[in-house]
């Protein structure tokens, strides 16, 4: 990466010798990982809906899987954006929908109910990651962190507001001309 970054510099520009630690936290990295996972899963749901419904004994629900795919991709894009928290919250809501859909498929007459149970376990695990990550980000971005104070004494006018008011008032151009 440093090599590529340095290629774009001109001769006299500083080049990276060694990099310091990234300001990205583990919670940021987890959100990014979940975002990419979401986009990957959504793409699979969109493009291979028939295979998925066959594997889960949910034939005839291909449309629903594709809609879920679009939802996953959108949540993934949000999780990769600056508003990671909104992305993770939408993922958690989506996890709930996934669980409801899978529970509906967990019928005695479903020959693939073993796969459904496996899918439920996977969704459960990912939901826990989503919730944990959302909680960590909420703490990290909380504007209440640190000392709260007001600045009622910071006028910026050493001689006071009354002296400052209009001190730089410009003469109207006509007056200035005369």
């Amino acid at each position: 990466m440093n090599f590529l970054a340095n290629v774009a510099r001109s001769k006299g520009d500083p080049k990276i010798v060694s990099s310091g630690p990234s300001v990205r936290t583990p919670a940021d990295r987890m959100a990014r990982a979940l975002g990419w996972f979401s986009i990957g899963l959504g793409t699979v749901e969109l493009l291979a809906a028939r295979r998925l419904t066959r594997a889960l004994g949910m034939r005839g629900r291909e449309g629903l899987i594709r809609v879920f795919g679009v939802r996953e991709i959108m949540a993934g894009v949000m999780s990769l954006s600056v508003d990671k928290q909104a992305g993770l919250k939408s993922r958690i809501a989506g996890d709930g929908l996934d669980i409801l859909a899978l529970l509906a498929a967990l019928r005695f007459d479903n020959p693939r109910k073993g796969n459904v149970v496996l899918a439920l376990l996977m969704v459960g695990a990912v939901t826990m990651l989503d919730v944990r990550s959302a909680q960590d980000l909420a703490v990290q971005h909380d504007p209440k962190r640190g000392r709260r104070r007001l600045y009622p004494d910071r006028s910026g006018f050493p001689k006071g507001i009354a002296m400052a008011k209009g001190a730089a008032r410009r003469l109207p151009s006509r007056a200035a001309a005369s």
Partner: protein, 391 residues
């Protein structure tokens, strides 16, 4: 040397980099004594400004001591002199520079072709910003190469402290230009959206220029308190309707002059669905800016009034009410700041004690803490309004 380097979205690191070198005879090298994080650095932090590249050194609010000068500086600068570096790099010779339009200098952008493709014409080279404006290394570092240094500098008078002088690089002239281009008259109500550092400077500038009343709009208590300290009437848009309150304060005529010190990252508010839509569009790259404040200004500004936009917009904004803008006969003035057009006057005003821009500083930290301070500033934690870094 150490420098704050952009590695990607929300990824700024304090790296070790090679020292800058004199590249052209009009260059100078300064040892940075103070630099600051600007609100527009956050647009880069969020990767909302296109054409940043990993390895770009951040920072365009910088000052320091001259340690090396090229042969073409011709005595305009000498080793040991203290200077503030304006964020716009200027040649001082082109047609635009001669007109005082320094932020659209025709010479200094070393990626002119890219700027012409995107903007239609080139604009000035800027420090620590996108490659569209030249990709020049910025000043959040121990040393800075200043191109066209014989013109791109502001000399600091003896007796003026770093903290009094530093903001001549950007936010003070930016707030000043925003107010000046409002053509303020003694009967005017001036409304300022956004009480970040540029908003604070705009408020003080409008007051100095003699506005009848200055109204400041934000939602962060510490920023509102700072605005009030500077003589503004404040509106907390989380608690009251901006339009209703502005109308009430102006005898239902609307503010005569409006300043958008917010720019492309307007606050997203659940109570205002348009802001949610803007954010969604921005996320999916269907719109580059969130122009909620601009829409509100056009709606509430008094017919015949002036809208001044110092806030940074990067590309495309949707649903701008052109009908209201046209029918109300509003004048829009904007632009990156022509820093050197204003600095002689502002240096004098600081020396005379009319204004001391250091009031805005809330955090002073070492350069190594810079990456973390980007987060603190972005999330408005610890009542942060302005961060100064000491390399």
């Amino acid at each position: 040397m150490r420098a704050l380097v952009w590695h990607g979205k929300e990824d700024i690191r304090c790296d070790t980099v090679t020292d800058p070198e004199i590249e052209h005879e009009r260059d100078a090298i300064i040892k940075v004594t103070s630099c600051a994080i600007c609100g527009s650095d956050l647009h880069l932090f969020h990767n909302f400004i296109p054409a940043m590249m990993p390895g770009d050194i951040m920072g365009h609010e910088t000052m320091g001591e001259v340690v090396e000068v090229g042969g073409g500086v011709n005595g305009a600068l000498k080793k040991g002199e203290r200077i503030v570096v304006p964020f716009t790099i200027i040649c001082g010779e082109c047609d635009q520079c001669r007109r005082g339009n320094f932020s659209v200098c025709e010479t200094t952008n070393r990626n002119k072709a890219l700027a012409e493709k995107i903007f239609g014409h080139t604009t000035a080279g800027l420090f620590g910003y996108t490659h569209i404006t030249g990709g020049y290394p910025g000043g959040q570092a121990e040393y800075l190469r200043v191109p066209y240094a014989d013109r791109t500098h502001i000399k600091i008078p003896a007796g003026m402290t770093d903290e009094q002088a530093l903001f001549l690089s950007d936010i003070l002239p930016t707030g000043w230009q925003a107010a000046v281009q409002c053509d303020i008259e003694p009967t005017d109500s001036v409304a300022v959206w956004g009480c970040g550092p540029v908003g604070q400077m705009s408020i003080r500038s409008a007051l100095l220029l003699g506005a009848r009343q200055v109204i400041a709009i934000d939602r962060i208590p510490e920023r509102l308190s700072m605005a009030e300290a500077g003589g503004a009437i404040t509106i907390d848009f989380d608690k009251e309707s901006v339009v209703e309150r502005l109308n009430a304060l102006t005898d239902h005529k609307g503010p005569d002059k409006c300043i958008d010190a917010t720019g492309m990252e307007s606050h997203v508010n659940m109570a205002q669905p348009a802001t949610l839509l803007d954010r969604a569009k921005q996320m999916f790259m269907l719109e580059s800016d969130r122009p909620h404040v601009l829409r509100e200004i056009i709606y509430v500004c008094r017919p015949g009034g002036v809208i001044s936009i110092p806030g940074v917009y990067s590309g495309f904004s949707d649903k701008i009410p052109m009908g209201a803008l046209m029918n109300k006969g509003l004048t829009v003035r904007t632009g990156q700041t022509h820093v050197n057009r204003w600095t002689d006057e502002l240096v004098r005003r600081i020396e005379e004690g009319q204004i001391d821009p250091s009031f805005v500083i809330t955090h002073r930290v070492a350069l190594e803490q810079g990456p973390e301070m980007y987060r603190v500033f972005r999330d408005k934690q610890d009542s942060c309004v302005k961060v100064v870094l000491k390399p």
